[in-house]
Amino acid sequence: MKYLEEYRDRALVDKLVAKIHQSATRRHTLMEVCGGQTHAILRFGIDALLEKTVTLVHGPGCPVCVTPVAMIDQAIALAQMPDVVLCTFGDMMRVPGSRQSLLEARAQGGQVRMVYSPLDAVKLAQADPTKQYVFFAVGFETTAPANALAVYQADQQGISNFAILSTHVLVRPAMETILKHPDCRIEGFLAAGHVCTITGYAGYEALCEQYKTPIVVTGFEPVDILSGVLHCVEQLEAGVASVQNAYTRSVQREGNQQAWRLVETVFEVTDQEWRGMGTIPRSGLRLRSRYGAHDAAQRFEIPTPEPAAANPCRAAEVLQGFITPHECPAFGVSCTPEAPLGAPMVSSEGACAAYYRYRRTEALNTEG
């Protein structure tokens, strides 16, 4: 497909790898923020190509992974209510809540529908006024416009049986939390290209300046990722830190202002809990009171489940780049995609799932 294949071109990949090796006089440690990038890196073996000069640390950019357990429990509680249909992206289905996943809840009679877009959930609500349709609105800035549009459309069209259970996270505050940590070893960031498509990257400039850390907006194909790495390495070698854009075909400095205006119409910034990382100030979005009629948290009496029993999952450390998935003792032993202990093992952007899929044998070999 156009705009995909040409970015997997072997000759360009080799050229970029050679240039990175040529530029680096020492090893550099970079974090790719987005879980989609993590999967591409492992799938195409980019980590292995760069083995000699660059350590890629996997970042927190998996919205499914950072969704608090209590939110999964709430989604399940909604699915179990009579006349409520809980709609969700497929990615959320297998994520363990404190007792079960949405998939298990559905097997026991909960009403759960998988959709490709929140707009599909609005259509379902419109077609069936006898039931309440709740979309489990999880996501980063990339997904916020789609969720905002769904609420906006339902509101405009008077579709009153549509609501969202909202748990939105913002990437920049999480990057700052990582940089602030005393054990932080990240020298440069490959920023999440599709988040920046929406938000632009002007907002990173203060962060880059304050922490003297290069931030390069990076896409998702091998050529894109390697271009991001090259820009980062060149900055580090030159001893400078700036915000650069290596994904110019999709990202502009100011982002997609039309899309962000839509987000700001419907949502406002709020403090947000991240699974395993605690509450980060001003790192989430919640519905404005004007749209309270479409807010599942206000519309339904959602039972608050008991706190979850202790879980050996080390997702918080994985998500902040302190350990790699195969350093988690449960990896591939008590935690597998079929029987996951944590979200990173089942999400299509989770680092543990990527290691299980592409690096399982190596990981088990080094251990054994």
Binding site: L12, L119, V138, T143, S347
Partner: protein
């Protein structure tokens, strides 16, 4: 979840004022996509689609420029390169 796929706009429907939509082709597979946040996209444009909505119009000139500049990367320090990549092909351009 932030996965977004580029596709080509085949048709645009503006009959519903608050929801500009269109058909977008992903290598031949057609899908309905919300186009309200990419007003500059026209029939024939490539857009990046995420969760049923187009999040940007692909800048074709930028795409071409970047690929060209990578193909032109100067690797004159050949010894270093050979040591690292072995018999890497020298062809450059797109396949």
């Amino acid at each position: 979840m932030c996965l977004a796929i580029p596709g080509k706009v085949i048709s645009i429907d503006e009959s519903e004022p608050i929801l500009r939509t269109g058909k977008v082709s992903f290598g031949g597979a057609l899908r309905d996509v919300a186009l309200s946040t990419v007003p500059e996209a026209e029939v024939g444009s490539y857009v990046l689609v995420h969760a049923g909505i187009a999040i940007s119009k692909v800048d074709e000139a930028e795409a071409a420029r970047v690929l060209e500049s990578i193909a032109q990367l100067d690797l004159s320090d050949e010894e270093d390169m050979l040591e690292v990549t072995g018999d890497a092909p020298e062809t450059g351009g797109q396949s």
